[in-house]
């Protein structure tokens, strides 16, 4: 594959540049599941100096979904008239001893979709079913959920609704990095920035004083952003640089933001491991209440049991970058991808799953 984004010579030059610029041990956090996966799958860590730590923050939308919301989705999936649709790796996230996957094996009507539009289509095809889309994701997937809700209202579909677990990244970062997380630099998520605009991450350098770089997802693009952060750190600078200009504009994608604003309102949201973060969630606006599964099935959700996480699970500290996955007492013993206790082990984007599968590059 002659791909410049995986070019070995270029990678060699970049790793040499990083090694020579590195003055002292440095911890860089990424907050995007696709970064986690690309770093783990390419074995990138093994090419970097050991004094440079790359850690994963709360960038996997599945991982940060709190068990109270999973409990609500489980309650809906148990209703005989409901078809619950969601993205693939949401199925395995545990809440107590249950998961959507478990309910599916027991006969509940839980289906995988690649897009909320697939769920909408399903609602049109199976009009006797109540089709609920369990929506997770950051600014990357929220615009699509928003446009699906607008379409549902236009079509006046009585049997389609959305359970929103959507969240926004900047509010979480502000709370995480402002709260004294031990991080020296931030790889900003390229997909989120393509919607919000690179400027939206300006506060990381201006307010929090951390060097930051918007990064693409190939090994070369990740290394470019890491090199920029290491060089800024060596020079004592804290700026935001955009290393993913082929996709990210300073102003982002205004059309996507507008549609999100038409359909969603910022709300307080509970993040697994991070707790309640003001203004970090996306609630469905009252104008769309008829399509809000949280409202349509409010009584059923309220009556259902709320499952709690394993008290020994350290997903929270892993998500904050306080500990590496291996430092969790459950890692690899009680908690494995086959029997995950916490969400970080469930999603293939989760930092614990990546560490378990790929050995954190420790060959």
């Amino acid at each position: 594959m002659a791909d410049i984004y995986e070019d070995k010579k270029l990678i060699g030059k970049l790793t040499a540049r990083i090694a020579s610029a590195l003055r002292h041990p440095l911890t860089i956090m990424e907050v995007c599941g696709t970064h986690t996966m690309s770093i783990a799958a390419s074995g990138l860590r093994s090419l970097l100096p050991p004094e440079l730590r790359l850690i994963s923050g709360p960038g996997c939308p599945v991982c940060v979904t709190d068990s109270s919301l999973i409990s609500a989705a489980l309650a809906l999936a148990r209703l005989p008239r409901v078809t619950l649709t969601t993205f693939g790796d949401m199925l395995r996230v545990p809440a107590g001893e249950q998961s959507l996957q478990y309910l599916r094996e027991q006969g509940a009507d839980v289906r995988l979709v690649l897009s909320p539009l697939d769920a909408l289509e399903l609602a049109q095809q199976e009009q006797e079913r109540q089709v609920v889309f369990f929506a997770v994701g950051f600014e990357t997937t929220a615009p699509l959920t928003a446009s699906t809700l607008e379409l549902a209202r236009e079509l006046d579909l009585p049997n389609f609704s959305v359970l929103s677990a959507h969240k926004t990244m900047p509010a979480a970062l502000r709370s995480l990095l402002g709260g004294g997380a031990r991080v020296d630099g931030l790889l900003c998520p390229g997909h989120v920035a393509a919607v919000t605009g690179a400027d939206n991450f300006d506060f990381v350098s201006r307010e929090l004083g951390l060097p930051a770089a918007v990064a693409g997802f190939t090994p070369v693009e990740i290394l470019l952003a890491v090199a920029a952060i290491v060089e800024m750190s060596a020079a004592g600078e804290a700026k935001l640089v955009n290393c993913y200009k082929r996709a990210v504009k300073p102003e982002g994608n205004p059309a996507a933001r507008e549609i999100m604003e038409r359909v969603f309102l910022p709300c307080d949201a509970r993040w697994r491991g991070l707790g309640d973060l003001p203004g970090s969630g996306l609630a469905i606006r009252p104008e769309f209440a008829a399509f809000d599964a949280g409202k349509r099935f409010a009584a059923e959700i309220a009556a259902a049991p709320v499952y709690r996480d394993d008290p020994d699970c350290r997903c929270g500290q892993v998500l904050r970058g306080d500990i590496s996955p291996r430092q969790c007492p459950l890692f690899g013993a009680a908690c494995t991808p086959q029997h995950p206790c916490g969400a970080c082990m469930v999603s293939s984007e989760g930092s614990c799953a990546a560490a378990y599968r790929y050995g954190e590059g420790s060959l």
Binding site: E6, A40, S42, G43, L114, V136, Q338, S348, E349, G361
Partner: protein, 332 residues
């Protein structure tokens, strides 16, 4: 949850292996079984007879590139062929759900017959049971197969320095069935590679009788084969990511769904290990056959701890771990 069988137990990953080691082996313990080969070499017949069986429960029953009938024949034929035996006779047992259209059953049988002709085997006996609606999913098929060893059974042990080849692109079947099952509309359409491999394997073994080991990369894909060889032969199996053939449409579908083509199932691909000096001859023999025209050398065995590693596209090495249970598309 793990006190009961879950779907993940059937996916050929770690859970499946636990089931074999903790339930089946202790119960049935005997010399022929304990080898855990794709086929059993039955000692009472002077090590000349190979016996295997496989059940087929695929949903949907028809998918681009194949159907449950083609799988039922090629799966069993391939299990015999990779052990080095020549497949001869198959049995066919069917469990039918009341309500299955007879026309559909006829199409499945026609497909089985066509695949059997391709493979040069005969379906010589069978059994039919019908269960009430809801007790099975349309049709479940079991086939058993017997074959004869015309040569010594393959050692199925690989050594440091051995070269590893695959007979063509990986992941075609797994992605085609996933796309058909979840109604994911990919263009161009993904097609299963289901095919009997005995002709291809025969060509390889005639050209390179020194072949050390063969596996058909079914559940768990290439990753499962690499891990199994590492463990049973006590070597490091190093696979070169960029050398593994993957069709562009399979690669894109995997990227979109967050899956790894190396973990995805194949039903018409053989993985071979040969001593280094026979690598070119093996590659040429595979490529000469229509089912092996995209064959490639993809890695080698090294002396080292028993594990599978991937040399990634950027030249880094990482562990190539067994897939964990059911492969699900991830979100972004």
């Amino acid at each position: 949850m793990n006190d009961c069988i879950t779907l993940a137990h059937g996916e050929g990953g770690r859970l499946y292996r636990e089931l074999v080691e903790q339930v089946f082996l202790p119960a049935f313990d005997n010399v022929a079984l304990n080898e855990l080969g794709d086929s059993a070499v039955c000692p009472a017949f002077g090590d000349r007879l190979a016996l295997t069986t496989d059940s087929f429960v695929v949903r949907p029953r028809f998918f681009p590139g194949g159907d449950i009938g083609r799988l039922a024949v090629s799966g069993t034929v391939n299990d015999l062929a990779v052990s080095g035996a020549q497949p001869l006779y198959l049995t066919c047992a069917m469990i039918l759900e009341a309500g299955l259209p007879i026309d559909e059953l006829r199409r499945i049988c026609d497909s089985m017959a066509a695949s059997a002709r391709d493979a040069g085997v005969a379906v010589v006996t069978g059994d039919t049971k019908v269960v009430e609606k809801g007790a099975c999913d349309g049709i479940f098929i079991n086939t058993a197969g017997v074959g004869l060893f015309r040569r010594e059974p393959l050692p199925q042990k690989i050594r440091p320095g051995d070269v590893i080849l695959v007979s063509g692109s990986v992941g075609d079947h797994g992605l085609a069935v996933l796309a058909a099952r979840e109604k994911l509309d990919f263009r161009p359409q993904l097609e299963s590679d289901a095919a009997p491999l005995n002709g291809l394997i025969d060509a390889l073994l005639q050209a390179v009788p020194e072949t050390r080991a063969l596996r058909d990369a079914t559940r768990g894909g290439l990753t499962a084969v690499a891990n199994e060889w590492a463990e049973t032969s006590g070597v490091t199996v190093a696979i070169e990511e960029t050398a593994v053939p993957v069709r562009p449409q399979v690669r894109s579908a995997c990227q979109l769904l967050g899956l790894d083509p190396l973990h995805a199932a194949n039903e018409g691909k053989v993985v071979a290990a040969v001593p280094e000096r026979f690598a070119d001859a093996a590659l040429a023999a595979l490529r000469k056959h229509p089912l092996g025209k995209d064959a490639a050398i993809i890695g080698r065995a090294e002396s080292g701890p028993p594990r599978a590693v991937l040399i990634t596209s950027i030249g880094a090495r990482r562990i190539l771990a067994l897939p964990e249970g059911e492969q699900l598309p991830r979100i972004c």
